[in-house]
Amino acid sequence: MASSLKRSSILTTFASKRTQLWQYLNTTIDSFLRDVGLRSTKEMTPGATVPACNLYELKNEGYVLGGVNYKKYCFQSWMVLTGANAYVQSLGLINVSQGFMLITDQTSTISADDTAGVGGFTNGPIANSGTLVEDSNTSVATTATLAYVNQDNGITGVDDNYMYLIVANTALGSIDAEAYVKIEFVVEQEAKVELIKL
């Protein structure tokens, strides 16, 4: 009887330890997969009037400058621009509760139909007159006159950063493009940061 109780206790302990080990391994593997970019739950979803976008903190990428601790965030958005020769595309609003939102990196890209030109699609940075867009009348890639990410914190308060993508060539009838906006920015460590999808 004593022996069977002891065995039962050992089995219970074993089962419990096995569960703990399993949970530990799962968490570790999950962290590893996220760290190397093989697993993500950073879903990009649209707002009522803004294209698909998301915002997340880049852990362990903060720094100290002039005695102030900064933390870093990534904002990204994806959209199709079509039917006009000038776009002021709203990307949503990033509210920063304290201090300023300082953009430190901008790696947005834009893709344009060039099937009647060189063939295929262009893929390049969003860089004002260096940006290729599609002349939608000809399906040939041409350059925009303006193309940049606009951050405006002068609309409803300095803590409200309205984000826009501006692309234009008003000399043409219509330009088309697909844009992927990706920016990184820093805020003071204590600031609350929220993406408001208007």
């Binding site: 709203s90 006159t145 303006l146 609309i155 409200d160 408001i196």
Partner: protein, 147 residues
């Protein structure tokens, strides 16, 4: 004991569910006192204050000078960095005058700023759309001028 003067703008900040303190507000704050037997206001301090909960220049309310009795206090707040908030003048008539050596205000006394319009989601959309139209009109007019 800390005698912080708190200048607060309570409005819709990042959480859209309830008004919270807007921490980024900066304002010029002028504090004046009227003493018994005097008709003119005496300026106590006229300083710039930053970020929501702020201190006066000394971190405290000033004290009523010895030999004076303060019968009225006037605080004028002029927002500097957010045009979204109205200027405010808060006048306090003292039923019981403050004597020399007493603080001119209570610890943590708050001055809540009123926005021109509340920053609800709907209002932000309206403002955003107005700004979008202005930007588009500017780009189009600039583009036409360049053609």
């Amino acid at each position: 004991m800390e005698e912080k003067i708190k200048l607060q703008a309570v409005d819709y900040e990042s959480t859209m569910t309830a008004p919270t303190r807007v921490q980024t507000l900066e304002a010029d704050v002028k504090i004046e006192a009227k003493y018994a037997g005097e008709t003119a206001w005496s300026t106590i301090s006229d300083t710039s204050m930053a970020r929501g909960a702020v201190r006066s220049a000394t971190g405290e309310w000033e004290k009523v000078p010895a030999g004076k009795e303060m019968i009225e206090r006037r605080v004028t707040i002029t927002p500097k960095n957010i045009a979204w908030y109205k200027s405010r003048t808060a006048v306090k008539n003292l039923a019981v005058p403050l004597k020399g050596g007493e603080f001119m205000g209570k610890p943590g006394e708050k001055f809540v700023m009123e926005p021109i319009k509340k920053r609800t989601l709907a209002e932000r959309k309206i403002q955003r759309d107005d700004a979008t139209s202005r930007k588009l009109a500017f780009i189009q007019s600039a583009g036409k001028a360049a053609e």
